[in-house]
């Protein structure tokens, strides 16, 4: 197919792939890049800023799709720590599971983890939308500032600890809520939001089955009477 460029990481370096994605896409006219034999290598397709599709045919290591802008990146396997860290726009989809800190600090775009995401999913997220088909681990959405995290499975301990304006939706059980996170009523608007995100993620679930978790805003101002107990 015209416009498809293949990198085989068994023979080529990740640096060559990223060099191509950063500098040679437009010259080459490529619209799609396929990455073979990723074998858990780190930093695959980081810092891409182009409307290209990158398909990773296997397991990715740390930092896949970090700082992504515009690109649509699909991992046909699991992804390691900090997948889509600081994503700005575009989409990163992991067909398998993701390790810790998925979409950490993400500013925009969409991250879909079809399997489970490990601990600290969406930590310090700043506007990214995250949809997880399975469970999320402990301390997910820790200090999450903006954006939506949709969890179709269960959530681990201390969900939404010190969350700011981000909102978490969980369909399954929640092991425990973190400091200042609280369960709130699902409004029609929330259901519409979840429905829209599930549709974008291609995951079928009933939006009404989700719980809304958001900030109680008790940490927004210093409370001298709290005696350091939160």
């Amino acid at each position: 197919m015209a416009g498809v460029v293949t990198f085989d990481l068994a023979k080529q370096a990740v640096r060559d792939l990223n060099q191509f994605l950063h500098h040679d896409l437009s010259r080459n006219g490529a619209m799609e890049v396929r990455v073979l034999n990723p074998n858990g290598r780190h930093s695959i397709a980081v810092g891409v800023d182009a409307p290209v599709q990158v398909e990773v045919m296997g397991e990715a290591g740390y930092y896949l799709g970090g700082m992504n802008k515009q690109a649509r990146i699909i991992v046909h396997g699991n992804a390691g720590w900090s997948v889509a860290e600081n994503i700005m726009s575009g989409t990163v989809r992991v067909k398998g599971c993701a390790s810790e800190c998925a979409a950490a600090s993400g500013h925009g775009g969409l991250v879909v983890i079809e399997g489970d995401a490990s601990s600290r999913c969406g930590i310090s997220m700043k506007g990214v939308d995250i949809v997880v088909g399975g469970d999320v681990g402990h301390m997910s959405a820790f200090m999450a500032q903006a954006g939506r995290l949709v969890v179709c499975g269960n959530a681990g301990a201390a969900l939404g600890d010190s969350v700011y304006e981000a909102v978490v939706y969980v369909r399954g059980s929640i092991h425990s809520l973190g400091a200042d996170a609280r369960r709130e009523e699902m409004t029609d608007k929330d259901c519409a939001t979840v429905a829209e995100l599930l549709k974008k993620a291609g995951i079928a679930a009933d939006p009404k089955a989700f719980k809304r978790i958001a900030s109680g805003k008790t940490l927004y101002h210093w409370n001298v009477e709290a005696n350091q107990e939160y």
């Binding site: 397991e59 290591g61 810790e100």
Partner: protein, 298 residues
């Protein structure tokens, strides 16, 4: 940062080639630590009365033959010797404590790396690939092995500060992370007569667990206590004569990936250390949960 790997072979043909499979796992994790490296391999036990004692000498041209000859005369029993440069494995039916005492008098520069019926330990400072090739890790056979690459953060870089740590017989531990209370715990153990060789945090964890087991606890029970007593960050991988055991602290911010396959169980800090394993694509690959004890039997 450090790298840990472990491989338990469930099939005979894999046991014959254990080193071949472990070596690339270790070499890959050299990216996570180049200060030192070490490996413990477990193979079918020798005679019930006999013990295998792994020794380290700072001298790469050490005269092991002379040492074995002198030991034979001292303990009046047979001593089998296998030596590679500054490493030797002695097999003897003499009491391990008596041998250790004799060794200390004969040459205080020698260090006992491990004692047991199954375990053999190799470790040294320097790049992991150099250590692996010098000691011939690729040729090792056995039921299971653990190996470590160290990037030192809390204590010195010396052969004695390298992992694996051992205590008692047929028990070793490797660690990625750092403990924040090793000194207070070490002082408590010292009061109970536990002897230490270094100021390293991992040694404290290793000797704490072995001390609990010596007092009658199972390794699982010792680890439950360890989860309460050890403060800090850790992924701990342990091996005994017939088991591989893994645990992560409550925060689980030190990585680990497991691949369970009908032919083997493999553990590594990162997936890329497992990618070369046979048929890994059909293995069950997962990240171990915090504070959960995983144990696999040979």
């Amino acid at each position: 940062m450090c790298g840990i790997v472990g491989l338990l072979a469930r099939k005979e043909d894999l046991r014959e080639r254990l080193g071949e499979w472990v070596l690339p796992m270790l070499a890959c994790m050299a990216d996570r630590g180049t200060d030192s490296a070490g490996l413990a391999v477990f193979s079918d036990g020798i005679d019930a009365q006999a013990r295998r004692i792994s020794l380290y000498s700072p001298d790469r041209k050490y005269d092991w033959e002379a040492l074995a000859k002198a030991l034979r005369e001292a303990v009046r029993t047979d001593v089998a010797l296998r030596a590679v440069e500054n490493h030797a494995a002695l097999v003897t039916a003499a009491a391990p404590a008596a041998v250790a005492e004799w060794l200390e008098k004969r040459d205080p520069s020698l260090r006992v790396l491990s004692v047991g019926r199954s375990i053999e330990v190799y470790k040294d400072v320097g790049h992991p690939n150099e250590t692996a090739s010098r000691y011939g890790f690729a040729r090792l056979k056995g039921t299971h092995a653990v190996a470590h690459t160290r990037m030192a953060t809390e204590s010195a870089v010396t052969p004695a500060h390298s992992h694996p740590y051992t205590a008692g017989e047929d028990f070793c531990l490797i660690h990625n992370g750092s403990l924040s209370n090793p000194h207070s715990l070490r002082r408590k153990l010292q009061k109970r007569g536990v002897r230490f060789e270094t100021d390293n945090d991992t040694e404290t964890a290793c000797r704490f667990l072995e001390w609990r087991m010596r007092e009658g606890a199972t390794l699982e029970a010792a680890l439950q206590e360890g989860l309460r007593m050890l403060d800090g960050f850790y992924t701990l991988l342990m091996a005994t004569r017939d088991r591989l055991v893994l645990v992560r602290d409550a925060f689980a911010c030190k990585p680990a990936v497991v691949a369970e396959h009908p032919a083997y169980v493999a553990v590594a800090s990162e997936y890329r250390s497992l990618a070369h394993l046979p048929d890994v694509k059909s293995a069950k690959v997962f990240e171990p949960q915090p504070e959960e004890i995983y144990a696999w039997r040979v």
